[in-house]
């Protein structure tokens, strides 16, 4: 087994709420002074996690519109997805022969798994997290057309808006940003009301709705 690696984030950068314990529970942690928070990683090395966190936060930045990938814990979400069945291509037909240059209408036909695509893509982004914002944007523009970038972009959106049980969308910041109330059981009284005005009930997570812990897909098998 590999040495356990951690993603170390300053409490100021994430609002001091985010911690995963070893049994994969999310805990709220009040910031104690400026002590950094250490999150156990399942797939990435510490250096890789920092790059992914930095890149995701250029894709979905924290800005005057509100929180972004950093506050939502997107890097942690992606780490867990890659460590789980999706990362090793459990949800894809992987029999040979592969066709690396298939027409787009046939979807991705290559051999590499999401884990391999990330590992290789991150090779090209060494030192990315130490660049300035503008330089990071330039770097991302150079790789915009790659499969790695399209995965990273898609996974960033997933990490922003997934149910919090998957490690992203912490405190439902993504849902609050976009105005999605989560798995609300009934809209019966509201569905034909509020015409033309924003109706924004307080978001609820699946765990709050069901009253029990639901096992996320990344923890299966």
């Amino acid at each position: 087994m590999r040495r356990r690696e951690f993603l170390t984030l300053s409490t100021t950068s994430i609002g001091g709420v985010l911690v995963y314990s070893l049994d994969r529970e999310i805990f709220r942690l009040s910031p104690q002074g400026n002590r950094p928070i250490r999150i156990p990683l399942r797939f990435f090395s510490q250096a890789e996690a920092r790059i992914v966190a930095a890149a995701a936060s250029r894709i979905f930045p924290s800005d005057e519109m509100g929180p972004g990938a950093r506050e939502a814990g997107v890097a942690v979400y992606i780490d867990r997805q890659l460590a789980g069945p999706w990362g090793r291509d459990r949800y894809r037909y992987t029999q040979e022969p592969f066709e690396e240059n298939a027409p787009t209408e046939f979807g991705y036909q290559g051999k590499a798994t999401p884990r391999q695509i990330y590992r290789q893509g991150l090779q090209g982004l060494k030192g990315f997290d130490r660049l300035k914002d503008g330089e990071q944007d330039e770097k991302l523009k150079q790789i915009e057309a790659t499969l790695f970038f399209s995965l990273l972009r898609q996974n960033t959106i997933e990490g922003m808006f997934c149910d919090p049980m998957h490690g992203g969308n912490i405190d439902m910041v993504g849902w609050q940003l976009i105005g999605f109330p989560g798995p609300r059981m009934s809209n019966y009284d509201d569905v034909d009301q509020h015409y033309g005005e924003a109706f924004r009930p307080k978001p609820v997570s699946l765990r709050e709705v069901t009253g029990r812990k639901v096992r996320p897909g990344e923890d299966l098998e």
Binding site: Y91, Y93, F106, G107, Q109, D192, A198, F199
Partner: protein, 587 residues
């Protein structure tokens, strides 16, 4: 290989058709019936905690395990087929209830002339107007033959809607272009969410005849003729790709399982992967003797049976017959053979994506709550001077506005796809974008068909099914005609920006269309041109019946579930009242 004790009836597949047939045969006869379902078990209240977009919509929790089996695709016979390695243009379900569990529950009937498409079209426009390479056929029955069975299906599901034609009398507010109904819908229309209501108003002011989408997400609590009760819909929006948490959406598990569970003569075996139908009729007439399947533990067993009902997912019906060597394989070069012919999909896309100033609250709704119109469907409008035949419906459903799937739907004026500027637009437009969808007819062509792939295999080393499938000029011209009309409605709705559909090019396996594929084991009047007779009985093997959309000679623009159920009822009647009394060819 172990041989099990013989049973009277074996049903391959535990979805809508297999379980409806099991319910009918189980209730109306004392035959021993075994349903073989290759997926896992489900109960009536299975969906307490599935409202998770990531695992269900993005990772396809309810679908067949694509790592085990998929299909291959090529656009024409000169291309090398490639496997669909991840889900895209359609979503086959798995487990008890099948795709009937994760459907959106849109529940229309087909237009009457769909069942006599070849003769009606030829009669009106002449044979010369048909596309040169068409393979259009009549079904061998008429809408009038089917209406009473449609009515049974509507009652079974408790479909919500507003009739537009009761026994020939047109009724404003319903679909005045539909075929006659013997009765009003069992339950009133669903509530209409804001975006859909605005669509309805705009369409009406432009002279169209909008009506509420027929929905099996029932508008109020309902008890069907089998005594099965369901709650009314709460518009939570988790319908398509999900099972309904409160059972308001009609699903095989909540309306068929409760009846089956009371019948001691019916049993369902899950984890039973059928590989072959065993028969003594490679060509010509003969009998099926049973099926072989892999049990959960991996052992292959033989289940003998007197009567075999093939009721698996539409494409798999064709594949199982091809693998079993039952019937004559279709050859597109000569148009000889019948098995695998007339593969069709459905022409479905967002005709106009409309961006509004006001928020739409699109998270509230159901898979089938909305308004639609049929003014551009079938042959409702004259095609005499148009460069295509047939048409489809335009509609505005308010369903499935989930944030991972819908974040980033922005107008064309937004040039970036990431970063601050894009984020600002993505957040602003998330709840200000609505889709006017087109659901159009896909004609059958000589060159669109199915056979077995020579290269790729499933996890048991059986060849995958190969689809040879592409659009033709008729579909492309239909799209060109209908998109500007959708844009006009969007403008009338007050949209500030509208993105029209960019047009059909080659068949795209990555873009979700619908899970409505038809053909392969088509029905018809003669064994020269079809696989099953109008009672869905195999022409050559009289103790084999085939259920589901694989028997449709071509697509009919509307979603297929009520039609599939109506045909299953009709086949059940033919078996109980005809075949069991005299086990021979019914036609």
């Amino acid at each position: 290989m172990k041989t099990l004790l013989a049973v009277d009836v074996v049903i391959v597949g535990g979805g809508w058709t297999g379980l409806l047939m099991a319910k009918e045969l189980g209730s109306r006869t004392s035959l021993t019936v075994v349903v073989l379902e290759r997926g896992g078990p489900r109960g009536t209240d299975h969906y307490g905690d599935d409202m998770d977009e990531l695992d269900y919509t993005i990772r396809f929790r309810m679908m067949q395990d694509i790592s085990q089996e998929t299909v291959t695709l090529r656009h024409d016979v000169n291309q090398r087929a490639l496997p669909l390695r991840q889900y895209g243009s359609f979503l086959p379900g798995s487990g008890v209830g099948g795709a009937g569990e994760h459907w959106s529950a849109v529940c229309p009937r087909f237009l009457p002339d769909c069942f006599e498409l070849l003769s009606r079209t030829t009669e009106k426009y002449g044979a010369a107007r048909l596309p040169e390479d068409h393979a259009i056929q009549d079904w061998g029955i008429s809408y009038d033959d089917l209406e009473s069975h449609y009515a049974r299906a509507d009652l079974l599901l408790g479909v919500s809607g507003k009739a537009g034609n009761i026994r020939g009398k047109q009724i404003a507010g319903g679909n005045i272009f539909e075929g006659w109904r013997s009765a009003e819908y069992p339950t009133p229309p669903t509530k209409i969410p804001y975006f859909s209501a605005v669509f309805g108003e705009a369409a009406k002011s432009l002279g169209y005849h909008p009506y509420p989408v027929p929905a099996a997400t029932t508008s109020r609590s309902y008890t069907n003729p089998d005594g099965v009760s369901r709650a009314g819909c709460t518009y939570c929006g988790f319908c398509e790709t999900f099972g309904c948490m409160i059972g308001a959406k009609a699903q095989p598990t909540n309306i068929l399982l409760p009846v089956i569970a009371k019948r001691k003569n019916v049993s369902i075996r899950t984890g039973a992967w059928v590989r072959r139908i065993v028969h003594d009729a490679p060509k010509g007439n003969g009998r099926a003797r049973g099926v072989t399947y892999i049990e959960g533990k991996g052992e292959e067993v033989f289940q003998p049976a007197e009567l075999i009902i093939l009721a698996s997912w539409t494409l798999n019906n064709t594949r199982l017959l091809l693998l079993s060597g039952i019937g004559e394989r279709y050859d597109p070069a000569t148009s000889e053979g019948t098995l695998g012919r007339n593969l069709t999909h459905q022409v479905v896309f967002s005709a106009a994506t409309a961006f509004f100033e006001k928020p739409l609250n699109r998270f509230m709704g159901s898979g089938a709550s909305g308004m639609m119109l049929s003014d551009l469907d079938g042959d409702v409008f004259d095609h005499g001077k148009l460069p295509f035949l047939r048409g489809g419906t335009l509609g505005a459903r308010t369903a499935r506005s989930l944030p991972i799937s819908d974040c980033g739907v922005v107008p064309k004026s937004v040039k970036t796809t990431w970063g601050s500027e894009w984020k600002k637009a993505a957040l602003h437009y998330y709840d200000r974008a609505g889709r006017i969808s087109f659901s159009g007819e896909h004609l059958a062509y000589v060159g669109n068909y199915m056979d077995l792939d020579p290269v790729y295999k499933d996890h048991f080393d059986d060849p995958l099914l190969r689809l040879t499938l592409d659009w033709r000029e008729n579909e492309r011209k239909m799209v060109e005609y209908v998109v500007p009309k959708a844009v006009e409605i969007a403008r009338e709705m007050g949209a500030k920006e509208v993105t029209p559909y960019s047009g059909l090019r080659r068949y795209d396996a990555t873009r979700y269309q619908s899970s409505h594929l038809q053909g392969g084991t088509i029905m018809g009047r003669s064994p020269e041109h079809s696989v099953v007779n109008p009672y869905l009985q195999h022409w050559q093997v009289s103790n084999l019946f085939v259920l589901g959309a694989s028997v449709f000679p071509q697509n009919a623009s509307a979603n297929p579930t009520p039609t599939i159920l109506a045909f299953t009822y009709r086949a059940a009647d033919a078996i109980v009242d005809g075949y069991l009394k005299n086990p021979a060819a019914l036609a």
